[in-house]
């Protein structure tokens, strides 16, 4: 932790970054996003298992971008999200310095500084991320149900949605200034949080995340009423990976499955 704080302090003092984006202690046992803009503020930084928000979402939030060059204390999923944002040209190579406190070594203090998309890609190539066991189980349980049971499950769960958009706004990949949900000419998806509006919204979000989701699960955690919406985007991401072999957050060059194709893509249902 000390090495991380020291590195963060260095970067601020040398003027290499205008703000460090990390975590600090929050209410009770939880952690919250934290912005250190002056060197003495790095003392508030904390990094442990309770840190869950995907800080990459701030790299496209214009109030944070306007602070200047950022140093982001990045969890593995945040690293992937940042790389994906670079691939999608939402952050310029060099806009962000990624600070990696090697997992398990926070106390030992090995802090890596990744200042370019290439460095980030190289670092991530050494990792194999596995989906959280609990989520794997939940997905498997859902897939094992019958179609009718799945319909009942999602209808019931999504009817509880209040369309607060905590899921959308906490997602690093949902950065559109004018989200399709906000478009009213035409009003493709209803604004109101009735059953139909909720169902359509979540289908749209899952499809827009297919091939782009880094599976951080923050959307599910952000939901105030506890709907496991992350399972929808996880499913869409896994479907893309299974069928096309492409994945989000692996390359500095855009490799988006739904804007590319192979003439020999195989499927079994088109008549």
């Amino acid at each position: 932790m000390e090495a991380l704080k020291q590195k963060a302090k260095d970067l601020l003092e040398r003027g290499e970054v205008k703000a460090i984006v990390g975590y600090t202690k929050g209410t009770g046992d939880i952690r919250r996003p934290y912005f250190a803009q002056r060197p003495e503020q790095v003392d508030g930084l904390v990094l442990d298992e309770a840190c869950t928000q995907n800080l990459a979402t701030y790299a496209t939030k214009h109030e944070v971008r306007h602070l200047g060059k950022l140093g982001v204390v990045a969890l593995p999923v945040t690293q992937r999200a940042l790389l994906q944002l670079m691939a999608e040209r939402q952050i310029r190579d060099g806009d962000v310095i990624v600070l990696v406190a090697e997992e398990g070594n926070v106390e030992k203090g090995n802090v890596k500084e990744l200042a370019s998309a290439a460095a980030l890609e190289e670092h991530l190539a050494l990792k194999t991320d596995v989906m959280d066991e609990k989520d794997q189980e939940l997905l498997a349980k859902l897939n094992a149900k019958s179609r009718e049971e799945r319909w009942a499950f999602w209808h019931r769960e999504l009817s509880r949605c209040v369309k607060c958009y905590a899921c959308r706004n906490s997602c690093p990949m949902c950065y559109c200034d004018h989200c399709t949900m906000d478009c009213n000419r035409p009003q493709w998806v209803p604004v109101a949080s009735h059953d139909l509006g909720n169902f359509e919204y979540h289908v749209v979000r899952a499809m827009h995340l297919a091939g782009r989701c880094v599976e951080c699960g923050e959307c599910g955690r952000a939901c105030p009423v506890g709907i496991p919406v992350h399972l929808l985007t996880f499913f869409a991401e896994e479907s893309v990976h299974r069928q096309f072999g492409q994945r989000a957050g692996h390359s500095a060059k855009l490799d988006y499955a739904l804007s590319t194709f192979r003439p020999d893509d195989k499927e079994s249902f088109i008549r």
Partner: protein, 335 residues
């Protein structure tokens, strides 16, 4: 002047039965997959044990997340308009915390300010509130700071406070007396029994804060506090006093309906004008608006606060915007 009675656990069973026999549905906090939610119940056994608060507030009963205001069908040369009858069923809200019960007053201030909102009023007329005093509080609660308390009676028709073997029942209003009248034998004499509730110290001087706010409009504090805010509607939607709404018309050439749905001042498009100008373009302006609306404009306009200190916003926020903490910080800032 409240009449106090003792209501045993067994008597409560009887009261639920009497309410249902009287054709009222009873909504209460229930345990659902680890969450506490307001739902229909048949007996006290189904009510959640040992809960702090529900996630969403009781406002959804009188101000639903989606409400039909009117519908119509069109034919050649004519439009047939249909006013919906607000489906207000006689309802008893059981187990409402004193903070949320007090919030109905804040909703009423807006919905009956100049125009009388017939939808809200029809639903309010049909509900009765049996409140439940708090025996615990958490780091997000601050009801005592904003003129409330864990055993406050505002907004409740009957307030129950846990005692050994059951509850102390304060029958507070006409609606409360009509509930008691359904089964008066269940209510034993309760005079002399002390009401106990958790003790919660004040977190900051609220009147001083309200007086200070007009001079702090241009403070950099709002930028610092809101830097992590992601601009979603979670806080506004769980809040028992938040009342902003959007009107949506869903129509095709043959028919349509006009719906009222929840909206949030935290959204960027909340104040976006048709011209493209947005008076609250950045999140700090929207965050400031939230604080000022609840702690400055509400007192100015309605003579009451727009916040009951329930802490739901803090618990629901994905990035832990702790309102109590923010307000303490604001109070401590040098003017």
């Amino acid at each position: 002047m409240a009449d106090t009675f003792e209501l045993s656990h067994e008597a409560l069973n009887g009261l639920f039965a009497a309410l249902r026999k009287d054709g009222r549905r009873v909504l209460a906090p229930v345990d659902s997959d680890g969450r506490t939610e307001l739902n229909e119940v048949e007996s006290p056994a189904q009510v959640a044990k040992d809960y702090l608060q529900t996630i969403l507030s009781a406002k959804e009963v009188v101000f639903p997340k989606v409400e039909r205001l009117l519908s119509y069908t069109t034919g050649p040369g004519k439009v047939e308009l249909k006013d919906p009858e607000p489906k207000a069923l006689p309802t008893v809200l059981f187990g409402v915390r004193p903070c949320e019960a007090a919030a109905f007053g804040a909703l009423d201030a807006v919905f009956n300010w100049d125009t009388r909102d017939s939808f809200f009023n029809a639903r309010m007329a049909q509900i009765a509130v049996i409140g439940l005093s708090c025996t615990k509080a958490d780091a997000a609660c601050f009801c005592t700071t904003v003129g409330g308390g864990p055993a406050d009676t505002r907004g409740s028709d009957i307030l129950l406070s846990p005692i050994e073997g059951g509850f102390l029942a304060e029958v507070l209003t006409e609606k409360g007396r009509s509930i008691q009248a359904l089964a008066p034998e269940l209510f034993q004499d309760g005079r002399g029994i002390d009401k106990t509730a958790v003790k919660l110290d004040k977190a900051f001087d609220q009147p001083a804060l309200t007086a200070k706010l007009p001079g702090m409009f241009d403070s950099a504090l709002w930028v610092d506090q809101s830097l992590r805010c992601i601009g979603c509607g979670a806080c506004a939607f769980v809040c028992p006093t938040c009342v902003c709404f959007d009107i949506q018309e869903e129509a095709d050439p043959k028919q349509g309906q006009r719906l009222r749905c929840w909206d949030s001042c935290g959204y960027r498009m909340f104040t976006l004008h048709a011209s493209g100008h947005n008076p609250r373009e950045v999140q700090s302006q929207r965050w400031r608006q939230r604080i000022y609306h609840k702690f400055s404009y509400y007192p100015e306009r309605y003579g009451m606060l727009g916040c009951v200190g329930c802490g739901k916003c803090t618990r629901a926020c994905p990035v832990d915007m702790n309102l109590r903490e923010h307000l303490v910080e604001t109070s401590e800032m040098k003017a």
